[in-house]
């Protein structure tokens, strides 16, 4: 775990209103694994850090992908090159891919695309075939960037790829399923692939395992810490009914 004063190195738009921000943070860039996250602090800014999956790594640069949903994300998108954030990471436990596990499907909805490029690279490094499966509401909300061997698309309105849920776009014959997206989508994914690995979002206090704020209800009856044992879990091990379906609120000054 490192705490890096990370300057913004660059940014690009990858879907309507969705931006990739790259921050220089060498020690994190060199140690992060797919599915792990970083926790960003803005000063001035809201009290708590904001967690983001690592999207990609480019030499010393750690990339995250986001859109403005509240005060913190709005401020992140207003940063100018050279502006610094405090980046804490890498945090959490990422995906585990098996060399013998067969072809991989990376299934993401909306901003759930975030952990997938790193996962694609790790899978390819293991010699695995990678199916990139990505869905959004409309074509212009789809993330334009993808990695892997073949891409499959889905949109709610059918403006690109399969019309309907991203789950319908998953090709047959995959051996390992990795998922990320809204809890509702992940719950559906769990019904079909209980062995799938999913990366969850929860509200977080610390991101480092000490506050117990990020409780994930497991079928074993316990609450796990999304920031420590998670955010990646076997989808069948989650009590989906006890997870909030929509995470949203905003803090005012």
């Amino acid at each position: 775990m490192y705490d890096v004063e990370a300057p913004l190195a660059g940014r690009r738009e990858v879907a309507r209103g969705v931006w990739v921000l790259g921050f220089e943070a060498a020690p994190i860039a060199h140690s992060v694994r797919a599915g792990q996250f970083v926790n960003l602090l803005l000063r001035p800014g809201p009290l708590l850090r904001r967690p983001f999956s690592v999207y990609r790594v480019d030499h010393d640069v750690v990339e995250v992908v986001l859109k403005a949903v509240g005060e913190g994300t709005r401020m992140l998108l207003e940063l100018r090159p050279g502006d610094r954030v405090s980046m804490l990471g890498p945090l959490g436990t990422g995906f585990e891919l098996e060399r013998e596990g067969g072809p991989v499907a990376l299934v993401s909805g909306g901003l759930g695309v975030a952990p997938m490029p790193l996962a694609a690279r790790e899978a390819q490094a293991l010699g695995l075939t990678v199916h990139w499966v990505h869905g959004a509401r409309t074509a212009d909300e789809l993330c334009r960037e993808w990695e892997g061997d073949e891409a499959w698309w889905a949109t709610d309105d059918g403006s690109l790829g399969v019309a309907g849920s991203v789950l319908q776009a998953v090709p047959v014959g995959v051996g390992q399923v990795l998922g990320c997206g809204p809890n509702r989508m992940l719950a559906a994914l769990a019904e079909r692939w209980p062995e799938a690995q999913v990366a969850l979002e929860t509200y977080m206090g610390c991101g480092t395992g000490v506050c117990l704020g990020c409780a994930v209800p497991r079928t074993s009856g316990v609450f796990d810490r999304a920031c420590q044992e998670g955010p990646v879990y076997r989808s069948g091990s989650i009590r989906w009914r006890d997870l909030p379906t929509a995470l949203h609120y905003a803090v005012s000054a």
Binding site: M1, D3, L41, P46, L47, L48, R49, S86, L88, T202, Y203, M204, G205, C206, G207, T208, G209, V210, C211, L212, G213, C214, A215, V216, P217, G221, V222, F223, Q228, D242, L243, P244, A246, L247, H248, Y249, V251, S252, A253
Partner: protein
């Protein structure tokens, strides 16, 4: 070294209960600067805690409703105390009960356990028999808990006070008389927040405890009142994020401080705060100089 109610601290800056786990998960904190720590609050038995959402951010603060999730006293004695016994800084165990007897029982189990430097009794627990009001809400039940713990242990005994009470001085004095060696002031303030989409409280538990810089002026006033009311040492808690904030509590008459939420923001907040405290200040006694005017008016 700072001595507080029978516990030798490495510095006047400690980690607050529930914000430092059991001390095993905070790799970036400078452990040489850490005065000591208080464990996450435990009960006699394991508790699963409350369902999510457990956290809501608020202006300069956060609400939490963790529900005192934890493994129970025997697991703590087995899994953590042996580690604590090897550490340089003292670890106090934060104890919680649903009845006076449960507090006493916990104290007895922890008495003499190597690695346990003392007990911090959290009286911000709902008193199930008295309709769910906190034990810490009135002098009688606060004293009853303190007495029960005092009877069953020779460990240093700190009592952690509840903030939202009409007269914290009376409660502080009651705990002192019942045998507390030091007082921690204060715990979180109960608050809530509604989600406009659902029309429901944002926390699954409906209410939660407010912590962070938002509460600092309130916590400081309470710590100040407690320090004036008792002669045992007082440990100030609430919204401390910088050395300057800690010094305000020392000026208010506290012997040491605890840092909670700031650790979530900066895992080495405690190291920085401890390094930034300038000691000449600690000697000043503002109370000696200021006249005794009535304490509020708007």
């Amino acid at each position: 070294m700072v001595e507080v109610g029978g516990v030798e601290l490495q510095s006047p800056v400690m980690a607050a209960s529930g914000t430092f786990g059991y001390g095993t998960d905070v790799p970036l904190c400078d452990r040489k600067a850490l005065g000591g720590m208080v464990s996450k609050g435990i009960f006699l038995n394991a508790r699963p805690g409350t369902p999510p959402p457990r956290i809501v951010e608020t202006p300069s603060g956060m609400l939490n409703a963790i529900g005192l999730q934890g493994p129970g006293v025997e697991a703590v004695i087995r899994d953590y105390a042996p580690l604590w016994a090897t550490w340089d800084f003292p670890v106090l165990v934060n104890i919680n009960g649903e009845s006076v007897d449960e507090y006493g029982e916990l104290a007895a189990r922890l008495d003499g356990v190597p690695g346990v430097a003392g007990l911090e009794v959290n009286i911000s627990c709902p008193n199930v028999r008295e309709g769910g009001l906190f034990f810490g809400n009135n002098p009688e039940s606060a004293a009853a808990v303190t007495t029960a713990v005092r009877r069953r242990t020779s460990l240093p005994l700190w009592v952690k006070l509840t903030p939202a009470v009409s007269d914290i001085s009376a409660i502080a004095r009651a705990c002192e008389e019942a045998g507390a060696d030091a007082l921690s002031a204060v715990n979180t303030f109960v608050g809530m927040s509604f989600d406009l989409g659902s029309g429901q409280p944002r926390l699954a538990f409906r209410t939660g405890g407010l912590s962070g810089p938002a509460i600092r002026p309130l916590a400081l006033y309470l710590a100040y009142q407690v320090a004036r009311a008792v002669s045992i040492p007082v440990v100030g808690i609430g919204g401390i994020a910088r050395a300057e904030d800690a010094m305000e509590f020392l000026l208010a008459g506290c012997r040491a401080v605890q840092v909670g939420t700031a650790t979530f923001v900066d895992p080495n907040a405690i190291g920085k705060i401890a390094a930034g405290i300038s000691l000449p200040l600690v000697g000043k006694d503002p109370l000696a100089q200021s006249s005794d005017r009535p304490l509020a008016s708007r």
